[in-house]
């Protein structure tokens, strides 16, 4: 065992571990050059492209999202404006309808009033006509009644038609005159 260690130590002394052997240098260089070329040409460009495309994609998506947001905001504003417009329109329509309603109501009222006036006038005229008729028939009847009464009181002297009518007419005229006199007097 110990002899083997000494042997190994002696071997170690034969070659200074700080000085590289030619084979050591050669294979180290081969390894280094191969890997440097590999990383330079293949791995790192792909790696960088991958990262760059991802960054680009993220930025692009953020931009698109911002755009979409702006669009949505514009749309909302539009909708709000439209709503306000519609509301204003509705208000004017309502106002108009109200005014129209009021106008119609007033017209109807007027119509009703004129109708009522017309009816009243007609009724008055009718009443007047009836009164006239009643007056005329009353006059005739009063005349005959009075004559009958007078005949029965005075006797047959008044049987003469002409005279009787004249008397009655005279009487009624007097009556009317008196009546109109009192009316005039009342007016005075």
């Amino acid at each position: 065992m110990i002899s083997r260690i000494i042997e190994a130590a002696a071997e170690g002394q034969a070659h200074n571990p700080l000085l590289p052997a030619p084979a050591d240098l050669l294979w180290s260089s081969v390894v280094f050059v191969i890997l440097l070329a590999f990383f330079w040409v293949r791995v790192l460009p792909n790696f960088k492209k991958n990262l760059d495309s991802r960054t680009e994609a993220i930025e692009g998506r953020l931009e698109a999202a911002e755009k979409a947001q702006a669009e949505a905001a514009a749309k909302t504003a539009n909708i709000e404006a439209e709503q306000a417009q519609a509301r204003a329109e509705a208000a004017t329509i309502r106002e108009e309808a109200r005014a129209e309603g009021a106008a119609i109501l007033a017209e109807l009222k007027e119509q009703a009033a004129s109708e009522a006036a017309r009816l009243t006038a007609t009724a008055k005229a009718q009443i007047e006509a009836e009164r006239q008729a009643a007056l005329i028939s009353l006059r005739a009847e009063v005349g005959s009644l009075a004559i009958d009464l007078a005949s029965s009181v005075v006797g047959a002297s008044l049987k003469n038609e002409k005279v009787a009518t004249g008397v009655v007419d005279q009487f009624l005229a007097d009556l009317e005159a008196a009546d109109s006199k009192t009316k005039a007097g009342k007016k005075k």
Partner: protein, 247 residues
């Protein structure tokens, strides 16, 4: 078995491990690269689980190291070298704790040396490209130092910038890996010796040494990652110092 023994093409155990790790890195990143390509061609922007793992790995170097130290533009200029260095060192370090490989292939000075040389020329290239000859002037005659002190400062700067930087890069990595390998070999050889060769009472030591071996294996996992990070970060810092307007 050693292929091409005695020639510069000698393929011993460590070289075989290096080629194996290289193949594994190639396969893994080939697959990841394929998923990236598919993703941007199909405009599939949500990464799959596998793809995300690749992105996290590559972004660790690109964002946490390159962009952090150099800024986005310069970071992307040097990210190829930094990525290569990081994954080579990490992959080669990890073999130290993989059963049947059992040695970090960065524990042999050649690979760290090659990587350090690459880092060295890269930061010189970065400096010269940016400042021309002024880069050497900036490095060797730092601004704000009284002229008389240049007698003292310039040799130190020359030594530190042009000689010590690549050497320390390579040695730090190699020595860490050698030390880790020795520790593991010591612990597990001791365990084997105590359990199978020692008598009676001494067998009990085997459990203790095994426990140490186990803990150091976990520790080596950390070291493997940490050394890859440190190597890459220092390379980045050297590039950043070369690009800086004044030191």
């Amino acid at each position: 078995m050693i292929l091409f023994a005695g020639t510069p093409f000698e393929l011993n155990r460590i070289m075989m491990i290096r080629l194996l790790v290289t193949t594994l890195i190639l396969v893994l990143f080939f697959l990841w690269s394929g998923t990236f390509k598919k993703a941007y061609k199909n405009k599939q922007y949500v990464p799959s689980r596998f793809q995300l793992m690749g992105e996290i790995s590559l972004n660790f170097v690109r964002k946490s190291i390159a962009h952090e130290q150099l800024g986005d533009t310069d970071g992307d200029r040097f990210v190829q070298l930094l990525t290569t260095i990081f994954f080579i060192v990490l992959g080669m370090n990890v073999t130290g704790i993989i059963p049947s490989l059992n040695i970090a292939s960065t524990a042999l000075i050649g690979l760290p040396f090659v990587l350090a040389i690459a880092a060295y020329f890269t930061f010189i290239y970065a400096g010269v490209k940016k400042h021309g000859v002024g880069f050497f002037k900036n490095s060797l005659f730092p601004a704000g130092v009284p002229a008389a002190f240049y007698i003292l400062v310039t040799p130190i700067e020359l030594l530190s910038t042009c000689i010590l930087r690549p050497i320390t890069l390579a040695l730090r990595l190699t020595m860490n890996m050698i030390a880790g390998h020795l520790l593991l070999v010591l612990c597990f050889s001791a365990t084997s010796f105590f359990l199978f060769s020692a008598d009676g009472f001494f067998k009990a030591f085997g459990a203790g040494t095994f426990l140490f071996g186990f803990v150091f294996t976990l520790f080596e996992m950390l070291v493997a990652f940490l050394q890859a990070y440190v190597f890459t970060l220092l390379t980045t810092v050297y590039i950043q110092l070369a690009l800086a307007d004044e030191h």
